[in-house]
Every structure is written in structure tokens, then in C-alpha cells.
Symmetry: D2
């Protein structure tokens, strides 16, 4: 465990802004094999994202195949990412786990490496009650050396973070925001309404197809998978929505829909988003497309279709 | 990784019988705190179980809160359990994980400690397709130093091991059986039917309320949670069903229903079975009742009700 | 509404036995077209079933496509069935509906035609709470001219009849039993245990693959879809289980598994049981195989496979 | 069945506009008792809605408790509603049913009464495949005397109308739009994108909390439950979104959230929306608050809370 004074020092290199806003891509994890990081690809990917203007990076999330990676590889990824980013934007690190101790340990590694915050979805083998979930967050927060974002991801974890649970968890020290991947905008709007007097509590939407409306109606940004591939598109959509330029929002929103509908369904429901993104990134020469078990890269015929999509999106010439 | 020749040596101390049969309790993990093993309680619990005549032990399963435990504690539990059992019955070790590498590593520890087999449910954060699941098992089996039991646990993993997937996985070297916790007896009967000419493939039922019919209609035994508390009851029920003594089956089956309906619902759906069993075991002086996060022990009023249940079951006098 | 004195007279021709036991097939509805009854086929089917020794008939259930039929056709089916049966066995009539008034009206038709009882699953568009469900049954029972069987069918109705709800509903006048199609034998065993001192409350199991264990462990019979095709097989299995002849149970149980696994999966999950049964019955010359909307009969290649199944089961020569 | 030429005549009194736009409230069904229409309340409610500027009425939907009403009452409601509206706005009539014939018959009644269109969700006892669903719509459309809106309502019907199914159904003659109550805005946006070149195909969103974004991003209006109570609020929100007045949208959207979060959760998940709306309407003296079985009106303490909500919304003075 880390003392409060140490905490400030460790994360000094990339402090979390008082109110995080914008596009924080859930970075895919470039792999040469199921347990071998593509270190060169990782560097290129990070530079690609920062050039695109993203406002932060989120590693070890769902799109990053976090739970599928060995702890050794998670550590390597955290360290290399923080070193490469080098304070240019805040790095958020997923610590979701079924084991409390392992969540705390990954958070410790994140703090040592200079990450800005950690991100936690409910433990996901057993389904806790809301009371158990709140108590869990209370216990864990005491051991965390970094600020915490809650992560609502019911399709993977089987448990919804209910509004009342979020309200109470948000009162704990160090709980600074929430990423909602439920795709339920009624839920998201209720959170925006609940936290309208707390601009320091950051509300980010997961599915990129919902980024436009989330920001138009009071949300603070998005953890958009497609920003791995085309960061500027998502940054521009965020800025257009923030600036209330509805014509521009409509045009960029359509591009996002085109990208997501063309790319994510090829690889099946389990990890189709990551498979599609990695395939596209490898076509563009940015990083390798190996997947962590239990998944495999797209096959050659699917890869051809991804190439067609990239041409249609103007991301590949010829 | 371990070479084939090493495999035999490592597991020599507690070889898996050619055809495992009987009651293999899913052992609760005695804890003094969420990350502190109750080592003395563990010894007493193991002796309690072996005195009750059980045919094996299964550690790090659902009832054992496996996914909630730190890897350090999992290792300690494996080593202490194998040492205490010392070859008297086979020890099966749960290796279910979201990360392929961690499953393989726990399997390695199990082999070194002298366990007889490992048990694997599908990786449970992402939901793989049946084809992906089969490929996953194929890849993992190559790295396993011990025989493998499949584990069908759809309510926790979100994925059913479909009959055809089991059929094909059972053809892989080292895949020796399946534990079914789906509570779907149509599924279980279809498996019995499918494997009727393969007596070496062991079919075990999870829910203890289904033990009677599973054995009466061709299954080989049960991984019965209640056997933690009252091992002899479950061994007797197994023997009565195996011996087709229907009067005795009916009487013992009723006792099992009484135990499970009285004990498991107090602690809520998430981990009510483990909470009830640990509370009862602590009342009987066998081991402590701490739970791993995100769960907590039953409260005093619930404990009083467990005492009443133990009296009604004849397990507590006074 | 019907006065209490009328009730007795109307159902006098086919009284419900004090304790219904045995095989009560959920009769398929023979159709020439989606809204045209196959009247001659219906007569042949009823005689086929009665020759097979069944202990009752259940019409307008799930297998009978009850909710898909027009009320005009439901009335015709009730009248023709009761007339043809003519008191030889009790006829049970499904009255499950989303509209309270329509349930009561079909019950009235059933009583006038001489049916013995009605069968009610929860209303299935809105999902009521357990308290609302109990109140609904209380209100409806007051208007019913015939005894009532509850029907637990959560996969279609989205609502489980919880044990406590059944316990309280069973205290209402006229509620005489329950058919459980949940395929959850833990639930069924708990009901058997709850009603062990009330032999007048009949507990029937839906899925035929669970008939053997249901009767071996205290249930009273089955509403077995396959009995439409091969009534004697199910009657024999029921009798073997009732008589505790385990060798015979095992052999007949295997035949039931063979029939159900071969026949019901061809037509998809929605109405595969009815499609398979109707196809087989039409091959045997018993009745037509038209389905009610939104379903269609099996296609010629599937029909060929059904013929093969019938040969394998010894029901078709050549 | 009705010939094409008759169709035009029958619906002449309230023709469907070429492209329906705006707020079409899913009207609650005012009841004096579970099977007794509140005819005077119905008149007052319709005038209340039309005074509020709504662009159409949708009767016999989910909020209208359609499936819970007797067919006699459905007919009475259709006739009285069409007579009272008298061509001032188009009336849409829900014909969702488990029985094909009953859907067609209610559609016939709607046409005779002068309704403008009918609305159909998938049949909801059995879960058809997408192919079966499409075939069902094809068969039914041939018998319909009025244009058809599809209705995606997976939480009640268990079946999603997949995008491809909608695409193909929209090519059938007479299929003119879709109401989406899935609360899944990714799905809705994909439909908007799919039909961007077909302005005659009307896309309406169900949940009122999603009205703002649905219209901002290309949808055509909403079937908003709260418009029963406060029609002008929803009409104004629709107009603000249509006119791209984002400040006004934000303010009105917040009012909608306040109304829905305060009013709909009191009565439980099954029919809480209808219970809350009817209670509020009865407090305002517009209509009675009886519910159709299996539901009951809110109790006095809940009614007091509804009164408080109405005061907070400025709909009740004092």
C-alpha cells in the first residue's frame, strides 16, 4: 500500500486534470502473439493517437482485452505506455478483476508507472448485490494510490451499477468519474442530471455511436473504440458536439456509424470490436493484429473486407 | 511448460483413478480475512471431509471462491491442501481464468503440488463462440501437465458448453470428464447418453439437489457443496443411488433438500452457498467464516438461523 | 359467469379424479391451414392417444400452439375434443392469456363442453410481480367454473411462479395442481417436498426428458410432448417409474431421449417440438402438419430426416 | 378482408400524412374497472391531448395496456376514440397479438372505425426466428386494410426486429414506419442511417428520455408516454429539437427526465408507466385510474407522492 503523500508524487508526471473532458480511446493492446507485446507497434499506436489529438488514453479496458492478458504483460503494457506517453496526456489503467488483491496490485503498478487514474468495473465472476458492490468499492478505494473511475459494463460483468450506487460511490474520496458502456442512454441521462452540479465528476460514454448525443446533452466525452483507428474523427465529433455545431455533428456522426457498422461485426460478438480495429491498424502498418486467447485475428477474406472499409472511409488509398 | 515425462512423475503421488466416481466436494476456502488463509481450519476441514468418506476434493471452484482469491493465496491453498491430503484421495484444482497464461500457471502449480487433475470453465469476461471455446481448450490442453475436467457453469460464465463442443473436446488427449453446474438435467442426460460407451469419461453433477437422479440415470457422482458440511450424507446418497436402493435414496434426497433450502438462501444469490456453508462450519468449530471480497460473512441474526438449521439437521446438539 | 351449482353439472361428464396421475399429453392441434382445424385428424389423434393408455389430455398448451390460435378455433377444438373423448379421460384446457376476460371466457367454454379442468400460466406480455401474480390468480379463480392447474413456463412468460407464490395459490379453492415446464428439477423437487402431505395436489413435469426422475422422486406424472407420437412409451415409462423398476426406467428413458433429441431440434427453437411432432404424425397418417402462424411445417428435407427417425424408433417400417 | 379500393374510402376520414412526424402519445386506456371503459374520461383525455398539440394518437399499445384488455373493450376503445378524434389527427391502433387472426380482425375494426394505421410488434408467446418473423409480416400485410407501423419492443416480446428484417419488411406494400421501444439508440441510429433516403418511412422513438437525441440526429418523432399527462411539453421538445434550438432542447429534456424519473418507478417494473400516468391523470380530474388485470392502481401513499410530483412539475397548484 501507498501512503497519501506518496500518491501525489507518483502520479505527478501525468496528473489527472481537475475535470477530464474529451476523447479517451480504449487502446487496443498490440500483440505479436497471445502473450507477447508488440512493443514497436505500441509506440506507433500511441503516437498515432496523440497526433490525432486525443485527450487521454485508457489501457486494459474491454477493447484492450485487459482481462485476457497475463499479469506480466499487463505490467509491461502499463510501463511502456506511461513511458511513451511521458505526461503528454493522462493515462487511465483498467484494474477490473475478480480478485480484490489483484485489482489493488495493478493499481499500484499504474501509480508507480505514472498513470493518472484507474478504472474499475464490478468483479465479474460472482454477481454481487448493489450493497455488496458499494462496500467493495469502499474497501478498494482505501487501498488505491490513484483516482478512480467507475466503469458500468453490464453485458460483460452481469451487474449494473445502479444510479443510487453510483451516487453513493461518488461521495467516496478519489472517485472522480464514470465510464458507461451500457449503451442505455436513459441511464446516462439520469447520471448527467444527478451530477449536474458536480462538474468535477466526469461522465464518459462508451459506445461511439452514442458519443454525439452524450456530449450534446451534457456528458463530458467518450471512450470511443474507433478512435484507435481514426482519432481525429472522434476528436472532431467531440468538439463539434461541445461547440453545438449540429450540422457538423450530424456529418461526423454518420461517419462514425459507417466505421462501426462496417468494421465491428466481422469478428463475432465476443471481441469483434478489437478484432476489427487490430486488423485495420495492421493494414495501416501501425501495429500487429494478434489477439489474446480465446480469440484469433480475422481471416484473410475478412481482412479483404476491412481493406474495402478503410478505402470507403478514406483511410486507405488505391 | 512441463514435458510429458515430467507430468507423470509430478502427479504420481495422487494419481487420478482411471474412472473417477463418487462425491468430490467443492471445498470452501477457509479464510481468516479476505486474503489470509485459515491454515488450521483448512486442516480440520480436510480431515472432516476425508473422515466423511469423500472420493476426492475439488478446490478453487465456485463454492471455493476461486476467482475471488489472490494468486498468492491460490498457490498457498493448493500446496497446503495437497500436502494435507497426501495422496489419500485425488485433488482437483480449478484453473478457470479470463487469462490463458494464468490458467496454465495455476495448472503448473497444481502439478508440482501433487494434484491429480485440473478443472476449467470457459473464460468468463468475454463470451467466446463455441468454435472459439473449442480452439481455446485445444490450445490450453497442450500446455497442461495434468488431466482436465471441463466445467459447465453458464450462470457465471455466460457461455454454455454445448453438447457438440463437449463431444469434440472429449476427444482431446487429457480431457477426462465434465462437471455440469447448469442445473439443466436435460443437458446432463444427453451427455450421459453421448458418453455411454466411454466409462472413462467422468460425468459429475454440480447442484446437490440433482445428485440422486444424476446417479440413478447413469451419471458418476457429484460435486456437492453441502458435502463440505455433512460429507457422509452425500456419500450415502451417492452409494444408495449407485446401489439402486430407492427407499434410501428418497430419504437421503429429502435431507439434502432440507439442508440446501435452509442454508443457502440466507446470504443472497451471489455467494449464498459459500456464506451458508462457512457459517455452519464455523459454528461446528471446523473453520473460520470470513469471505473473500466482494462478500462478507453472514450477520449474527442469520448465524442464529444457521444454528437452528444445524439443530434441525442433527448436526448440532442442544 | 357460471354459478357454483351449474359448475358441477357441466363438468359431470368427465370429472377430474381426486388426484390426477400419469401421462397427460399436451396435444398438438391438427390443422389443415393456419386457421382451419383438421377435424378428421383430430379424431384419429385422440383415438391414437387413448389407445396408448394416456391418463388425460391437455389441449391449448404450448405444444398445442394455444396462444397462436384464433378464439373461434380454440372453441371448436375444445368442443370437438370433449365430444370425441366423451368422458373416457379428463380433458384439461389451457386458458393462459394476456387478457383476464379472455381467460375466463375460454374457461367458460371448457366447462360447457365438459372439460375437467383448466390450466393457467401467468399473463405474458407484461411481467407482473409475484404479489400481482397471486392477486391475479385469486381474482380469476373466483370466476372459474372448473378446477385450476397452475402452469410454470418461465421461458415463454418471462415470469417464474416462485415456490412461495405456488404455496399460497394452492390454498385457494379449486387450485388442484401444477404443471412445471421450467426444466429446473431443483424447483420441482422443492415443490414435491412442499406438497408431500397433500396428495390431492398434483405435480406434473413438462419436459419428457425429466419424466423418469420426476416420478422416481415423488412427482405424479408428466405432460410429455412425445406422447402425441408414441403414447405407450411414455405411459410405460411412467408406470415403470411409479413401480420403481429401475432397469426398465433406464431403457425407456433412453428411448425418450432418442426421440426428443432426434425430432425436436429440426424446426428451430421457437416451435420445434410442435413442428417435429406434427411432421411425424402426418407421416404416420394420423393428422395434417400445418402450423399456426408465425410458424410453417418442416420442409421436405427435414421431413425425410423425420422419416429416418421414425424408422430408428420402430414407428415406421421399411 | 377488405379490397384495396375500400381501404382508401374507409380511412379517408383520417388519412395518414405521407410522412408522419411529431408526438404521437401512446394513450393510456381510461378504465372504471378492469373491463369497463371510462367513456367520459376518454373524451376528456383525448381533448386534453389534442389541446396539447399532439400530431397523432396511438391506442392499444404497451402504455395503453392493449394486450390486457378484452377484445370487446378494444373494439369499444377504437370506435369511441376514432369518433371523438373525428379526423383531427391520425389514430394509430395496436394490433399486436399472439394469434394472427386476431391481429387481422382488430385491424379490420380499426379500418371500419376510421383509424389511419395499425401498429404491430412480433407475436410474443413463442419467439420466432427473424425469417419466420419476416414471413409473418408478409402474410399479415396482405390482409391489412390500413398502413402498418412495425413496433420493436424486445423487452416484452423477447424478440428483436433485427435491422435486416426491418429493411426487408419496409419493402412490403403498406409498411410505412417503425416505432422503436428498445431504448437502444445504436439500433435507432442505424435505422435512421438505413432509411435516410426514404423520408416516407417514419422512425419514431418510444422512451421519452430519448426523444431529444432521436430527433436531433434524424428521427421523426416520439411515442412518448408522458405526453398523456403533459402533451405540450413533449410537443415543444419535439419542435425545439426539430428546429435545432439546443438550449431549449436541454431545458425541456431535463423536464422530461424529471417527470419520468419521478412518476414511473412507483408502480414497479411491470406497468409502472401506466400506473403513474393514470394516477396523475386522475388527480388532475381527467380520467379514472383503474388498471386492467393483472395490475392495480397506485395506493394512497403512492398517490400522495404523485401529487407532490405534479406540484413540482407545475401541473398542480397548492
Amino acid at each position: 500500500m501507498v501512503s497519501p503523500s506518496e500518491r501525489r508524487i507518483q502520479s505527478a508526471s501525468t496528473p489527472l486534470p481537475r475535470s477530464l473532458r474529451g476523447i479517451i480511446p480504449p487502446m487496443v493492446t498490440p500483440l505479436l502473439d497471445y502473450d507477447k507485446l508488440d512493443a514497436a507497434g505500441l509506440e506507433r499506436l500511441i503516437e498515432h493517437l496523440l497526433r490525432g489529438g486525443v485527450h487521454g488514453l485508457f489501457i486494459l479496458g474491454t477493447t484492450g482485452e485487459g482481462p485476457s492478458l497475463s499479469y506480466r504483460l499487463r505490467r509491461e503494457l502499463i510501463e511502456r505506455t506511461c513511458r511513451q506517453v511521458n505526461g503528454r496526456v493522462p493515462v487511465l489503467v483498467g484494474i477490473t478483476d475478480t480478485a480484490f488483491v489483484e485489482s489493488a496490485q495493478v493499481a499500484g503498478l499504474a501509480a508507480q508507472a505514472g498513470a493518472a487514474a484507474v478504472v474499475l468495473a464490478p468483479p465479474y465472476y460472482f454477481a454481487p448485490s448493489q450493497a455488496e458492490l458499494l462496500e467493495y468499492v469502499e474497501h478498494l478505494v482505501r487501498q488505491l494510490p490513484l483516482p478512480l473511475f467507475l466503469y458500468n459494463q453490464p453485458s460483460q460483468t452481469k451487474v449494473l451499477l445502479e444510479i443510487e450506487t453510483v451516487r453513493r460511490a461518488a461521495e467516496l474520496p478519489g472517485v472522480v468519474g464514470l465510464k458507461d458502456s451500457s449503451a442505455n442512454m436513459i441511464y446516462f441521462h439520469r447520471l448527467v442530471s444527478l451530477f449536474q452540479d458536480r462538474p468535477d465528476f466526469t461522465l464518459l460514454v462508451g459506445p461511439e455511436e452514442l458519443l454525439a448525443e452524450a456530449v450534446l446533452l451534457g456528458g463530458h466525452g467518450g471512450v470511443s473504440g474507433g478512435a484507435n483507428l481514426h482519432p481525429r474523427l472522434y476528436v472532431q465529433l467531440y468538439e463539434a458536439a461541445w461547440g453545438r455545431d449540429l450540422d457538423r455533428v450530424a456529418a461526423l456522426h454518420r461517419q462514425v456509424l459507417q466505421l462501426s457498422s462496417g468494421l465491428y461485426s466481422l469478428g463475432g460478438p465476443g471481441a469483434g470490436v478489437s478484432k476489427g480495429l487490430k486488423c485495420a491498424l495492421s493494414i495501416l502498418g501501425i501495429c500487429a493484429d494478434s489477439m489474446a486467447e480465446p480469440f484469433q485475428r480475422l481471416d484473410p477474406s475478412q481482412r479483404t473486407r476491412v481493406e474495402q472499409q478503410l478505402r470507403a472511409l478514406g483511410l486507405l488509398s488505391g
